[in-house]
């Protein structure tokens, strides 16, 4: 007994190190939402406040460019409104505007933080887009902030298709270059050529069909020789994002019930 206690006392540093190290390994490799559910991500009150206040300063730096972008988008939207005759009583999608207060793209699994949360009727699994294309999907929501899985995250799979045909595949980032993303499992017979536009597919409940993602920069057959693998250049500059829109699918509950 004495010897056991002696052993622990002699190696107390090593034991503490081992405990803490394995504790962090558990945190890294457990995908269950149990650990990092509430406090331990950037939407908690302290870190969100820090990012918010730093953002309130840095957001002035880019004001002119942001304004121009928004103005351009507004004109396009006005055009669409004037040309459409649909009524707005039963909208399938609601759109909320939001600002990014924390962005990252240097890791393998990147997350963004935005300044809208439960109080603004944001929930998890809602699509986030910018005026140029898809940004990500919300995954954790606190009272007034939410965390967004960026499309530059190796864990995120998105349904995407060619704009000119209905062949679809799975969009997933390989973690190497933040300007391009990979579209896999596209059937061999689909008519791909360099410069084609890739948009979101209709198979997703999160994004409406046809939101821009990027254009084909190169493609090849994969190892099975049955599917095409495409390198997609993103339209979005993921390093320079500020204003984003959150898309809420009002038919989500119904669609989920249908699929159960």
């Amino acid at each position: 007994m004495r010897q056991i206690i002696d052993f622990f006392v002699r190696n107390k540093n090593f034991i503490l190190f081992l405990t803490l190290f394995s504790f962090s390994l558990i945190m890294i490799f457990s995908n269950s939402s149990y650990h990092n559910s509430l406090v331990l991500n950037s939407t908690n009150s302290i870190s969100a406040k820090v990012y918010n206040s730093s953002n309130s300063i840095t957001s002035y730096f880019n004001l002119r460019n942001e304004n121009n972008e928004l103005l351009k988008e507004n004109t396009i939207l006005k055009e669409i409104i004037f040309n459409s005759k649909s009524n707005y009583d039963s909208l399938k999608y609601n759109v909320f505007d939001s600002k990014i207060i924390k962005n990252s793209y240097s890791f393998n699994n990147n997350y963004l933080t935005i300044d809208k949360g439960l109080n603004d009727s944001i929930n998890d699994d809602m699509g986030v887009v910018s005026n140029k294309g898809v940004v990500g999907i919300t995954d954790r929501v606190s009272k007034s902030y939410s965390r967004v899985i960026s499309i530059l995250n190796t864990k995120l799979n998105l349904n995407a298709k060619l704009k000119k045909s209905n062949h679809f595949g799975v969009l997933n980032w390989d973690g190497m270059n933040y300007t391009s993303i990979q579209l896999k499992d596209l059937p061999k017979q689909s008519p791909v050529s360099i410069g084609d536009t890739i948009v979101t597919g209709g198979n997703s409940f999160i994004f409406p069909e046809g939101i821009l993602i990027g254009e084909v920069s190169s493609y090849k057959l994969d190892e099975t020789q049955n599917y095409i693998e495409i390198e997609v250049d993103l339209f979005n500059d993921m390093t320079d994002l500020k204003n984003v829109y959150i898309i809420k699918n009002n038919h989500l509950e119904e669609l989920k019930e249908l699929n159960e």
Partner: protein, 167 residues
């Protein structure tokens, strides 16, 4: 100001600068210096090791919470905190064994070796856990060394900035 409060202030200052400034540098798109390890580098040598290992873990965890990389920085900084005596022995030799070193008056060459060892080990642990893929070993090593260069430069500059209250 007593030692504990000044340590706490340094820690808070490092965390804030790390998450607001240094996490957003993104040189060449993927290089960020991790300056917060200055805390581990310059933590008083004669202090209680148990407490030091634990506080380094907490430091990493806070950085993790801010940058949504749960566990990565915690694992890396607890590793260098635990291994620090070995690095001290390698870089300062006799002076460390006789307990006479002060960070204030060591020459730049020894300091450079010490900081480089610490930051390279930290980055290797961090990036291999982050990427966690044997087929990308070369990429991990490249990323660690490139970021280390950046971190070492920043740490040296930082240490001159705090020349007055260096312990």
């Amino acid at each position: 100001m007593n030692k504990l409060t000044s340590n706490i202030f340094t820690a808070i200052f490092l965390i804030i600068t790390q998450v607001i400034i240094f996490n957003n540098i993104n040189l060449f798109g993927y290089l960020n210096p991790f300056v917060y390890i200055v805390f581990v580098i310059y933590y008083p040598i004669k202090s209680d090791r148990i407490f030091f290992i634990f506080i380094s873990f907490l430091m990493g965890l806070v950085i993790d919470v801010f940058s949504d990389t749960l566990g990565l920085h915690a694992a890396a900084s607890v590793t260098i905190a635990y291994l620090r005596p070995i690095f001290l022995k390698i870089s300062f030799g006799q002076a460390y064994i006789h307990q006479v070193i002060k960070f204030k008056n060591i020459d730049l060459k020894d300091k450079l070796i010490y900081i480089s060892l610490l930051s390279i080990v930290h980055h290797l642990v961090l990036f291999s856990l982050e990427i966690f893929n044997f087929s990308k070993t070369l990429f991990v090593i490249e990323k660690s060394f490139m970021s280390s260069i950046f971190t070492i430069t920043a740490c040296i500059l930082f240490s001159y900035l705090f020349k007055t209250n260096e312990r």
